[in-house]
Assembly symmetry: C2
Homo-oligomer: 574 residues x 2
Amino acid sequence: MQTDNLQNTDLNESKTVLQLREKSSELSQIHLRELLSNPERNRILSILTDSLLFDYSHEKLDSEAVSLLLKLAEEKELLKKFNAMFKGDKINSTEKRRVLHRALRMSRDESLTIDGQDIVKDVHAVLDRVKQFSSDVREGKRTGHTGKKLSTFISIGIGGSYLAGDFVYNSLKSHQTYEKLSEGLELKFLANVCPIDFSRAVKAIDFEQTLFIVISKTFTTAETMLNARNCKQWLLDRYREKYPNLSDKDIESIISKQFVAVSTNIAETDRFGIDKENVFGFWDWVGGRYSVWSAVGALPLSLAFGFEVFQEFLSGGRSIDETIVNCKSTNGIKENIPIMMGLIGFWNTFICGKSTRVILPYSQALCKFPNHVQQLDMESNGKSVSITSNKFVDYQCGPVVFGEPGTNGQHSFYQLIHQGRSLSCEFIGHAKPQFDLKYNNEIVSNHDELMSNFFAQPDALANGKYTEEELQGIPPELAQHKTFKGNNTSFSILLKELNAFTTGQLLAIYEHRVATEGFIYDINSFDQWGVELGKVLANDVRKVLAKNVLGDEETKKFNSATLNLMNFFTENKK
Amino acid sequence: MQTDNLQNTDLNESKTVLQLREKSSELSQIHLRELLSNPERNRILSILTDSLLFDYSHEKLDSEAVSLLLKLAEEKELLKKFNAMFKGDKINSTEKRRVLHRALRMSRDESLTIDGQDIVKDVHAVLDRVKQFSSDVREGKRTGHTGKKLSTFISIGIGGSYLAGDFVYNSLKSHQTYEKLSEGLELKFLANVCPIDFSRAVKAIDFEQTLFIVISKTFTTAETMLNARNCKQWLLDRYREKYPNLSDKDIESIISKQFVAVSTNIAETDRFGIDKENVFGFWDWVGGRYSVWSAVGALPLSLAFGFEVFQEFLSGGRSIDETIVNCKSTNGIKENIPIMMGLIGFWNTFICGKSTRVILPYSQALCKFPNHVQQLDMESNGKSVSITSNKFVDYQCGPVVFGEPGTNGQHSFYQLIHQGRSLSCEFIGHAKPQFDLKYNNEIVSNHDELMSNFFAQPDALANGKYTEEELQGIPPELAQHKTFKGNNTSFSILLKELNAFTTGQLLAIYEHRVATEGFIYDINSFDQWGVELGKVLANDVRKVLAKNVLGDEETKKFNSATLNLMNFFTENKK
């Protein structure tokens, strides 16, 4: 199988895809500046809701192209696929699992019966426990071993148990309402197994006031469990330092009061010493990269801000789910933001051949959003096998995703977007600042200054600067250096404000957008077999490094280059 | 000029490039696993120095391909171009500037005469002032207005005045030696004009103990100057709150004692109220993205760690410069890390068509390195115009760059690299941990656990898992889902340790690597015209937002879509 065992799926055979390609080639003859000069076209290419404006007029699209995308949506049965997901079909067929993160944000008065069990009830039972637990901690009813208030929360988890939580925490922590709710409290994340991440996490914290939250579905994730064991050891050492005569009962109390877990593996949490009542569960139908909606996110975020804020976040997600549940026809898709975003994403990646997507939030609060979407998107759609035929597809699927907040990105990599390669740009902003800053003598507030760039960049990318008139006065040898060809496409999401509700909306939009694209590509967006091989090989290396000598049986597994690197390592590590 | 005004430069015409393409097509028939099974080949594809091992055996290369790349190096006169750069030719011809960041790291006993002036003397004169100033602050000889020790340093700057400083600070701050040197001190960065960045920067700091460092070559950078004015106002407000009867002289003293500048515009720093003796200069031959070697980096980093640490960093950079200065022949290039890395980069991007480069440091200390390289690379080589002909080239130049520390990345986007798209992977690690962490009952230390992954991933990517034997026992419907085609290429840089010296080496390696690629592409890696248009348009938007009403003269400049967004904004921003 060294040569690709390719199998045509219908995507490249689809007449609609052919028409889309023709349309793209037709549109490539028209400069985006010209398209944007048509107000009627622009009006059509946007969706306005109660809480946000989604504008995709800066994409290389017209109403005909949109119609073709809607036709594709119909052919690929997107609404039917979402319906299958929402009702609990095992659409993650390679792992024989349902994909039900939507159930995590359903309201208490709804129900969804799976195998005779109303899982919405189960969800709210855990949420109720999170509510109780977090309010007990916040009110000082639950304390550390020595009775001090727990005020530092260290969330130990990696990947899906880390990225979204960090994004949401950053999205909310400087908002003037939530900042008050988290006064005197701090949430820190410990993800990487690198010892430096550990040293930074426990730096300058009061060990008697620290609660550790260990997040791992299986409670066997190598990085997380090593970090958790280190934190336990570190905590006990600090206690022993200060209170030299700790009894076994004290030690038990320390762990039971200052360690909680989010996991489904009660046997392992128990062995770790965590009280059963301090273990918050979730379900095999919650994928890691969607788990922030479960106790994985609920627990740390409710500790930091209070459970009500997390509820708002859930409501935001739910409001987006409902737009899909209520979308009954292809015509409805035109008003549906996540599905339209998915179609636009497919257009850019598959039809127009842009292999990279760049997320550009004009808000420092969203600084971790690109990092989370990077996982959400690349881990979901970085695949190559059809879920229908189980054979390799003959096309590339999801794109590379990266991003940085504007204006920082402008002073970093925008050069390449303006005059180098063609990327898909996704601008995100909010009208109301989370924190207003304007001194009297300034022309505009900081937020207005920031947003001046949010409005300017999509036009600069699209319109460019290339006519003789525009280049007038520029010496000929500089003319092309100073030319902007324009024609660079983007869309913009402008929220009314950035709060817990719209943070939930934004995340759910991107989740369903990624699912939409996966449905079109006919891949399984919900597994991640690609992470397995590295884990296996790391186990082999670990055995060698543990022995600290090379040359024996295990080293036969490695090629000479890797052995050479490992030799250099062991020689120099002390 | 809507249609590209293309002009062939010699790159696509080069016989060597043709041969490289043929070679690449020949190598595409051989699986990387097979190439790696040849120890002789592997031995050739690595460079060992006193401080590091650079291994590129996991690239799709053999000795013939390397010879062709060296031939290209000769044709493109790389050594001659480096020489021109080092001796101060105005190779940044579009801005009529020299490119002399190398001079910033030359030692005191060297000299480089430019326009009759020994600029190495100038460099060391500023460094001497930085040394004096930083040690005065660190020793408490220079204090804040009320005589308190200055212990929080807020570095205000964006892009080139921010990213590298943040990278170096993170690279060093948890090292057990430097951590002691910075005990009780904190360096914070304020880059983004977003009000949230400001609120986070000034949060929980003691205003009487804070020194603000304003970094802007021209002292007119919009974001930086607004942030600087805000900090000034904020500081004075805090003082007025605590000491209601501030005199004009007090105000003057506050600014003069707690604000310093790194800039070349004395008129503007003076107007801001900064003492001339607290302004640290640099030169027009220092590009923003190379300025960390000047007072831009020297001042904040010396304040944080002491000047000696910064000197070590300079020495590291110098040691890499010297490898190029001492490289006299094409054969020497084979032992030269930055130039070889540049050739490999060109091979991957141009010959093999990989448009994305991913930086994967297995060290949390290097968490900001990908962010800096993102700027360094994308702002330098995200260009399309020949520096020789001043016409558009008919090929794409520098790639997209992103990255995250392993193991975090493994739990995020590695799925796509293993089973999705083909990217250029760059692994970085260090043998000796900065901070050792191993509790008795663990099999390996955290650092060994981390490095198990560093060694495992390149092999997992290269070797894959696809033979019948390897897939044995996997049900047929899962076989392709669990197949790893392998053949994914990477290189590895393994440092003996990560300290100030090797941090300087790593940075200088990447700088010269980017220059190497720019020289091959025949573009100007040292200008950044692509950032201009956005700035101009932002000025237009700012005028509209300042008036807070739409509909008047200025709005005619905008298309209906952008007006619609701006309307939504002004309606909802309060």
